[in-house]
């Protein structure tokens, strides 16, 4: 009995939805093996990871805090991935959004006006869009691979932020620590659940989910995204411009990543630091795929991945596990998901050892 893969006549819709759950189960199994090998009780570790963080309201609010940037970026990336535009540099676009929005906040330091926050958000969006426009330009003019350009620009952005907080944006009263001033009241995001850190960004993440769902299901440009992602030649025959879609998806991804960036620094963090994100821009790629490149799917996937951040922190405190466990968990989830996705197009069959098949 040798298992082999047989191509399905049609894609399995069941597997499209089942695959994330199988992947999640396999990730849990992988986690149990991992914890056993580390000498920890698997039940205790699983509890610390997935249950303990959600035992009170504060925990749920923290889930929202972590999920907001993931969902915001994840839905935007899923549009690009559907079009076959592989923007891997959302982390850099997030950073640029934080820099530009942060500069607005520091420029208007101590100015008490309701316009400061909206201006910061616009600054953040424009910053992210600017950073994403660089790979878009190179892709449309020189056919440069956006995976490489957008990824490499991420490191440029991180170094730029480091340069700025070590130099021009450093807090003059900050004893030479590499940090900016702490944003004043008018430049800080309002909290929407008192006693927690849940901020306005969560609302925007939900709006983004709804907006992009509408875009994909009802608008011509959303339709163009689907067509060009699946069959570029059919798109050209219909008169859709591939370059326009490259620009649109990269600018949308960059803009929402930039918005997520300014939400981070004006919300939970409250100032510019050399490091402002635990890799939200990269993790959002997992969110997009686990969410089946669907806005609503991305919402749930964002919550799940956010839980892995919280669980990782909690496991670090209560079980003395290294923080790398979070990354391992997220990596396993993506790995198993991509593996399970094979079953959308193939099914497993068993044959006797002698049954040679040539196709």
């Amino acid at each position: 009995m040798i298992p082999y893969l047989e191509k399905r006549a049609e894609h399995s819709q069941t597997m499209v939805y089942l695959s994330p759950f199988i992947a999640l189960a396999l990730t849990m199994l992988g986690g149990i093996i991992l914890f056993s090998m580390l000498g920890k009780s698997p039940t205790q570790a699983m509890h610390a990871f997935f249950v303990a963080p959600l035992t009170n309201l504060y925990g749920w609010a923290e889930l929202g805090v972590k999920a907001s940037p993931l969902v915001l970026i994840g839905v935007a990336l899923s549009i690009g991935f559907r079009a076959g535009v592989w923007n891997i540099g959302a982390e850099g676009q997030l950073t640029l959004g934080a820099i530009c929005g942060g500069c607005v906040a520091l420029w208007f330091y101590q100015v008490d006006s309701v316009f400061v926050l909206p201006l910061m958000m616009i600054g953040g969006i424009l910053g992210g869009m600017f950073w994403a426009s660089i790979p878009a330009f190179f892709k449309t003019h020189f056919n440069a691979n956006e995976i490489l350009t957008s990824l490499m620009l991420t490191y440029v952005a991180l170094l730029l932020l480091s340069l700025l907080v070590h130099g021009p944006l450093r807090d003059p009263d900050g004893f030479n620590f590499p940090e900016s001033r702490i944003f004043h009241e008018a430049a800080t995001l309002p909290i929407i659940l008192s006693g927690t850190r849940l901020h306005l960004g969560a609302i925007f993440a939900l709006i983004a989910v709804g907006g992009i769902w509408l875009l994909l299901s009802k608008s011509l440009i959303g339709f163009q995204v689907k067509v060009i992602g699946q069959a570029p030649a059919a798109g050209r025959h219909a008169g859709f411009s591939v370059n326009r879609i490259v620009w649109f998806t990269l600018l949308l991804g960059g803009g929402l990543a930039g918005l997520a960036g300014i939400f981070e620094v004006s919300g939970p963090i409250g100032q510019l630091l050399p490091s402002i994100s635990p890799g939200y821009g990269f993790t959002a790629i997992i969110v997009a795929f686990v969410g089946r490149l669907h806005p609503v799917g991305s919402l749930f996937a964002g919550l799940l991945i956010a839980l892995s951040y919280l669980g990782g922190e909690n496991a670090q405190i209560t079980l003395n596990l290294p923080i790398a466990v979070t990354g391992v968990f997220q990596g396993m989830l993506l790995f198993f998901l991509l593996a399970c996705d094979v079953l959308i197009r193939y099914r497993i069959r068993f044959s006797s050892a002698s049954g040679l098949r040539h196709d």
Partner: protein
Amino acid sequence: MMETNDFEHKSLLELRNMTRSYPGLLANDQVNLTLNKGEIHALLGENGAGKSTLVKMIYGVLKPDSGQILWQRKEKLIASPAVARELGIAMVFQHFSLFDSLTVYENIVLGLEAHQVGDNLDERIVEISQKYGLPLEPDRHVYSLSVGERQRIEIIRCLLQNPKLLIMDEPTSVLTPQEVEALFETLRRLCHEGMSILYISHKLDEIKALCEHATILRHGKVVASVQVQDETANSLAAKMIGEEFSAVSMTAAHPTGELRFVVDQLDYLATDELSVSLKQVCLEVRGGEILGIAGVAGNGQDELLGVLNGEIRTTPTSAIQINGKGCADLGPDQRRSLGLASIPSERLGHGAVPGLTLNENTLLTAHERIGLVRMGLINYQKSEEFGLQVIRDFDVRCHGIQAEAGSLSGGNLQKFIVGREINQQPSVLIVSQPTWGVDAGAAQAIRMALRKLADSGAAILVISQDLDELIQISDRLAAICSGVLSKAQTTAEVTMEQIGLMMSGVETVEDETKK
């Protein structure tokens, strides 16, 4: 009586109850076939009838689910093409496996087993090529050869192995009429020397001209095994299609209307080595008229379609005119609003998106002319109404408007695409390979729909490699060769020989020297 007995003794290959299934499809169902020594045996059937599956099993590429293969009256298990070659079975595939950047000689060496190469291989190549009328220069590079010459390499490669059986899969689909005649001459000579040939085709004239026996497949089953001389082309067609085949000529005298589509000295410079430049293309199509463009694949047809439908933009604007308006620099959607519609030859991925529903595929090209988008938002209900009308009008068999385009059979999807364009009532329609890979019933329906559209006053340009089809439906014929378009001639007055010359570019060259 003696002769029949003798015949049975000469059996070279016998297939008994060969069966092979794919997921969701029984490709071969209890197929029996007997092939004698020294005969040319036709395997006849429509696309998808199971011909390729059957020969792949004979050649050891596919393993049958059940059934027996008797080779020289002994049962054999042909587990791989190497085993088949050892027995003496050689095959020329429809798609060649040649390296463009290598020479003829190098390609032949690569295809042989080490022990077959020997010292005097070049001499043997020359000997075989002279003996069987397969002229080839061993030192030429493959990229500089015509399709016919490339096929000769494959044939010589097979003959060097001294096969007893030569299988040829649709060998003439890419050849000019002259090249076909030369190939037939070669095959007859081989057969005269005692080689057996299994000839796969769906072209009835060829089978009448070449073969003695024919085994006819339909939906994976043998429906008839006949002596070709006892049959007419019509009776063979009837057996192949399963209904009485009506080969009505559809080029009645048509009053030609106003000038709808004009191409005036259109040039297009190829952007890479694999595409073909178009040189000084001129043509005119009037309302009510179908202009056919013949030509062997790869002579600029794809580029011509792209330039004409707007996927490739050119200058000057006036080089292409739709209803008198210059549009060479406009995109596909702008040309659509001027009255153009186009159907590319590749259904999946070009004419339609396989992973999207029929409703979404309706939207793909109809959104402009039918007005399915308002303020950037899609009116899916209106597109559904339009799509359902197409499905009804063109008898598209599918699980409704929400079926994925990729789930339809080739013929049904093609009917849908053709219907989608025709129902937009274009004044100019450009079609490439309208019935390629489509079963005969659907092909006939599509041709009639094209004729009907022309009769209602539209100008139609058909680019096709199927000469029979062009002769059947077009009022005038031209041919494209190396990016140069010949002058169009009235179909009723042109001979097969003239068309062959046009397709090989001779007519145009003579024309130029006269000037």
